[in-house]
Subunit: 432 residues, 2 copies
Amino acid sequence: MKTLKVALLGCGNVGSQVARILIDDAADLTARTGARLELAGIAVRNPEAPRDVELPRELFTTDAEALVESADIVIELMGGLEPARTLILHAIGHGASVVTGNKALLAADGAALYEKADAAGVRLAYEAAVAGAIPILGPIRDSLSGDRITRVLGIVNGTTNYILDAMDTTGAQFADALAEAQRLGYAEADPTADVEGHDAAAKGAILASLAFHTTFEMANVSCEGITGVTAEDIAAAKDAGFVIKLLAIAEKLEADGTEGVSVRVHPTLLPRTHPLAAVHGAFNAVFVEAENAGELMFYGQGAGGTPTASAVMGDVVTVARRLALGGHMGVEAASGHFPALPKELVTTSYSIGLDVADAPGVLSAVAQVFADHGVSIETMRQKSHSDAANASAELRFVTHRAPEAALAATVEAIKGLDVINSVTSVLRVEGV
Amino acid sequence: MKTLKVALLGCGNVGSQVARILIDDAADLTARTGARLELAGIAVRNPEAPRDVELPRELFTTDAEALVESADIVIELMGGLEPARTLILHAIGHGASVVTGNKALLAADGAALYEKADAAGVRLAYEAAVAGAIPILGPIRDSLSGDRITRVLGIVNGTTNYILDAMDTTGAQFADALAEAQRLGYAEADPTADVEGHDAAAKGAILASLAFHTTFEMANVSCEGITGVTAEDIAAAKDAGFVIKLLAIAEKLEADGTEGVSVRVHPTLLPRTHPLAAVHGAFNAVFVEAENAGELMFYGQGAGGTPTASAVMGDVVTVARRLALGGHMGVEAASGHFPALPKELVTTSYSIGLDVADAPGVLSAVAQVFADHGVSIETMRQKSHSDAANASAELRFVTHRAPEAALAATVEAIKGLDVINSVTSVLRVEGV
C-alpha cells in the first residue's frame, strides 16, 4: 500500500483539528483512500505556542519550505497572502497537490494558482474556503457540471447572519446586536471584514468564478455591509413578510448586448417563505439556481475549527484517492472568460423608506417620480406617526424589478422633492 | 480531442431531457469535459412512440445490446430490474462506465454492481437515484469522505411531502389531500409506492450504504407510510409546535454491544424550527449529521424530467472528465460491513394520542405505565371534548428518547388500561 506524506502549514483552530483527525482517524482514512496518510510535519512560526489540541512536539517545525519539499499533499491553513502563496507555488513546483482554505489568496490570485496546478498535473482543492463545512464547491464543480448555473445567492458570513438574526428576533439595534455577538465570540474585536461585507465579497468572487467557469476578481464585487441596517428597517421588513439577510449574489446575465457576470454583496429583503429565510444564527447557506436542476440549497456551519476541518479532510481524501489510483489530477481551469458587469446593469428591486409630510398629494408626487424613471411599484405601505404635533408619515415602497441605475436615479430624484423630509432606508429585495 | 460515445437506454421524461442536453449543449459539455460527447443512440422498445422532446429519428434503436457494446458511457434510464441489470453488466463487461438513476435496481443489487464496476476499472455513478436534482451522493462520497456521518434524515419522496404539506396548510384529511395531489400530477393513479413509503425506503437504503460505507439491503428497512396520518394528528402537532414529515432515517449506532446500521421510514414529528420543517410542497431535502461537520442540509427538486436530467448529466460529465484524463476510475466499494439493526434497538421518542375517560386518576394510571417501562414523559397536553354528554378527553404525550421496544411495549400496556377508550395516534418525534 502506498504511503502519502502530508505536510500541514499552520496550526490554528482549523489546522489543529486537521492534525487531530489525521492522527486519530488514520485507519478510517486509509480505508477511504486506499493509501496510508502520514502526517509528516506541521510548519508553524512558534512550535511552543499553546494549541487547541495536544499534538506530538516532534511534528512541529519552523522550516515550512523543507517540509513542503518532502510532501505528496500540502495542506495550507496559514491564511493571508504571504508566505502562503510562495509556499503553495513551491509545493506545486515540487509536484505536490495542495489543499487550502485560504479565501483571501484565492480571491486575489486564484486563477494564476489554478493554471500552475493544472500545468503541473497536480490538484488544487479549496472546499474549506467558502462556507466552511458546507460542500458547495464540489457540487458546483462536479454534480452541476452538466447544467448551467444562472444565479447563486449565499449567506456566506456567519457573523453578519448572527447579528441580523438577533436583530430580527429581539428588535435590537445593530450596535447592541454587534456587542452581544462580540461578547459571545460570534464577532471579532475588529468586526470590519465581516460587517462591511469584505469576507462575503471574497467568497462571492470564488463562487462566481466556479459557477460560471470564469475568473472573477474580488475588486469587481460591489459591496455594502450591514452597519446601516436599523431596527426600524427590520421591523418594517417583518411587517411586510420579509427578513433581511446579507447576501452575496452572483449572476450571469446579458446587459447592453454583453454576456457578463455580476457579483454584489448587500443587505437584502427576502420573503420569509424563501428557503434562505430559515437560516438562523451563525449558519451559512448557498442557494443555487440552475437551468435544469432549478432551485438548490446547501446549508451548514460556515466557520469553526472542527466543521472547517471536515471540509479540508474531504479534499485531502479526494486528492489522496486520486493519487492512489493514478492518472492526471484534472484541475479545471476557467473555460470561459466573462467580463465583470457594473452593478448599474443588474436588475433588482428596491425597498425604499421615506419620511414625508403627512399632507394630500404626497403619494402622487412620489409615484410620479417612479413613473418618470420607468420603475413600477409593487406595494406601498403607509404609517402615520402617532406624534400628532409632527404631521409626518412613513411610506415604504417595494418596487418591481428594474435596472439598478434606474432605481438609484429614482431615489436621487425623490430626495429632491419638497414633500420629502428624508429617505430613511434603501434596501434591495430578492426572491420575490 | 477524444470523442466519447454515449449510449442512452430509455427515453421517458428523464431520458428525453438527457438527450436534449447532450445535443443542445454539446459545445458547453466539451468545454467542461475536455472530450467530445457523441450521443451514439437511444435504445427504446418503440422508436415511434411520442416523446417529450423532438429527437432525430435515426438515433433510436431497439437493439440495446448492440448499442451498449459500442459505447464508452452508458446512461441507463429504463428503470426496473430487468433488462436494466443485464444491460448494465453487459456495459461493464465491455469496459464502459455506467450512469444510472435506477434506485430500485441499486437498492436491490447495488453492492454486486459496484464490485463488478470496480473490478473492471470503470465507474458506476448514480446521483440521480436519490433526491433527483439534489447533489447528495457526491457530497457524501467526496466532500464528507474525511468525516464520519452519524445520521441522515431525508425528505426523499416529493409526493408524500406534497400531501403532508397540503394537510398542514389546509387542514385537509389524507384522502382529500391525496386526491388533490393526483389531480395536480403530484401523485400517481396508484400511489402505493409513494404513500406506503416504499420509494423512500429504497432511497434510505442507498443513502445508508453510502453514508456508512457498508451494504444495506432494502429488505432491512423498517417502513411505515403516511396513510394513517390524520388531520387531527397534524393539528395536534401544529398546536405543540411540530410539523409531520415522512422521513427516511439512517443511523449508525451501537446497541447491545453491536455496531450496526438502522434505516427506518415513518411519519415523524419535527420541531417547526428544524431546517427540514421549511421544506414545502414536492421539494426534497437531506439532512446529514457528521462528527466534525455538524449539521448539513441539501435541498432541491427530488423529481421531474429536467431536474433529474441535471443530476444524470453531472455524472456523465464527471465520468467523461476522468476518461479524458486517464487512470483508474475509482469506484468505492464498501469498506465496512455493518449489520442491519432491528428497529427495536433504536432509540426515538413517541408522540402518543389517547382518548380517555374524563375522570380523576386517569393521568396517574397512564403515567404509571410510562414509569413501569422506564419511559419518561417530556410534555403532556390535555384537551377536554366539548361534547358534554360524552365525558371523554384527549391526552397527547411526547416522551423523552427511549428504546423503540420500550416505547412499543408502553403503548401496548396503555391499550390494556380500563380508563382508556382508545389510542388515537402513535407517531415518532425527531430533531428535539
